[in-house]
């Protein structure tokens, strides 16, 4: 008997455990299992460990949540960054449209003061060399642009059309040494020719030494050359030099229109009379 028990002690003890667990199950199912000293002991052992472990778990969960939040922030940040970029592009477009709109409106207002038949054009290219001061506009003979027409902006004179193709035209700027615009000094009504020069920029030529020309005097077109309507701003006197010898004064002029900064121009013909203003 003992030998059998000794030989099969392991399966017998396992079977005993099985039976014990069934007994416990039945007692628990009937609600008879009120006191559990083993359970209480186990819980007593487990409690501090579980608290510590749960603390670690909570820390990990917090860490993971914080990480997720950070990742969320990163994604949100990226999204907002892209949105800002898009808005910036859109804003730029609106600003550009607004600027163009204002410019065109100004041009339109100005056009109403010019003789009928003024053609709106855009400058599409500047001079390829510094020896010649010219630019190209996007309107040509098809649009009614003819050689010799004046090119102006609301700020003043730009130049004169010197060559025309069906779709483009070349404009000789008033700052070119080959240009010559008949002007009046607004204050004194003295006459002269504004032209470009290689060494001194834009100058007012052929003004007698006796004429009273001062720095800051405004120069306007006289309308006598048959190209530019009368009364258009050409530039401002920035330097007056009366040399000891010679008939004329040396007068340096700041053009009213800075062509590199200009986008839209009006091509007009002085045939129909002077500018209304």
């Amino acid at each position: 008997m003992f030998a059998f028990l000794r030989k099969n002690q392991v399966p017998l003890s396992a079977c005993f455990c099985l039976l014990l667990s069934i007994y416990i199950l039945m007692a628990a199912a009937r609600g008879q299992l009120k006191n559990e000293p083993l359970g209480a002991l186990l819980m007593w052992i487990m409690r501090p460990l579980q608290i510590a472990s749960q603390g670690a778990v909570n820390w990990i969960i917090d860490f993971r949540e914080n990480y997720d939040t950070l990742v969320g922030f990163k994604i949100e940040n990226e999204r907002l960054r892209k949105r800002i970029q898009n808005l910036e592009v859109e804003r730029q477009k609106y600003l550009e449209a607004d600027a163009t709109n204002r410019q065109l409106k100004q041009l339109l207002d100005f056009r109403s003061h010019l003789p009928a038949g003024a053609i709106t054009a855009s400058i599409i290219a500047n001079s390829a060399t510094s020896w010649f001061k010219s630019c190209q506009i996007d309107k040509g003979s098809v649009d009614g642009v003819r050689k010799g027409m004046a090119v102006v902006t609301p700020l003043g004179v730009v130049g004169q059309v010197v060559a025309v193709t069906p779709r483009t035209a070349k404009v000789l700027l008033l700052t070119d040494q080959n240009s010559g615009i008949d002007v009046l000094v607004q204050r004194t009504r003295s006459r002269g020719i504004v032209s470009g020069s290689l060494e001194s920029g834009t100058v007012l030529k052929y003004v007698k030494r006796s004429e009273d020309i001062q720095q800051g005097d405004r120069l306007i077109t006289s309308g006598m050359d048959g190209v530019f309507p009368k009364g258009m701003m050409v530039g401002t006197v920035i330097k007056v030099l009366k040399q000891h010898i010679g008939l004329f004064q040396f007068i340096e002029v700041l053009p009213a229109v800075q062509t590199p900064l200009t986008e839209n121009v009006l091509v007009v013909s002085a045939d129909s009379g002077a500018a209304k203003d």
């Binding site: 392991v10 667990s21 969960i61």
Partner: protein, 168 residues
Amino acid sequence: MRLFLLFFLVGIFVLLLQTTLLHLLPGGPIAPDLTLVLCVYLGLYHPTVGAALGSFLLGYSIDIVSSRVIGVNAFAMSLVFLSVYFSSRAIWLQNPMVSSLVVLLAALVKGAALVLVSAIFVSVEGFWIGAAWYIIKEALLAAVLAPMVFALLRRGENFVERFRSVAP
């Protein structure tokens, strides 16, 4: 005695892991059943009365910390131990690769025992619906982890053995 202490501590640790940290793993509601792996290990490598009682206590501990009715897991674990004990006597199951298979089968036995006992004693309507898939997933997870847990347990045992041989 030292081995008893080792398995006692491992049991507590495994129980602690299973009730806390392992729920953080991305396995949904299924956490790896390390207590089952420990029970199989005891059945395979320490088929003693103490191991049988240890398996029972493992199940009982699970019941205390998580079961609705005390005794369900105690029964399942005791059954697992007994199954492994008899299997290991009939077939050679010491190979580490086979340990996965043993744990897989043991998990299936445990799952089936839980469903059966719960159906009888807990009488929850339709408890077994969906249990099959749950049992299979849990068994697979335990089987995957088994070689690693076995290796760790063996290392622990070796450490204890070495400590015993060095100690005066």
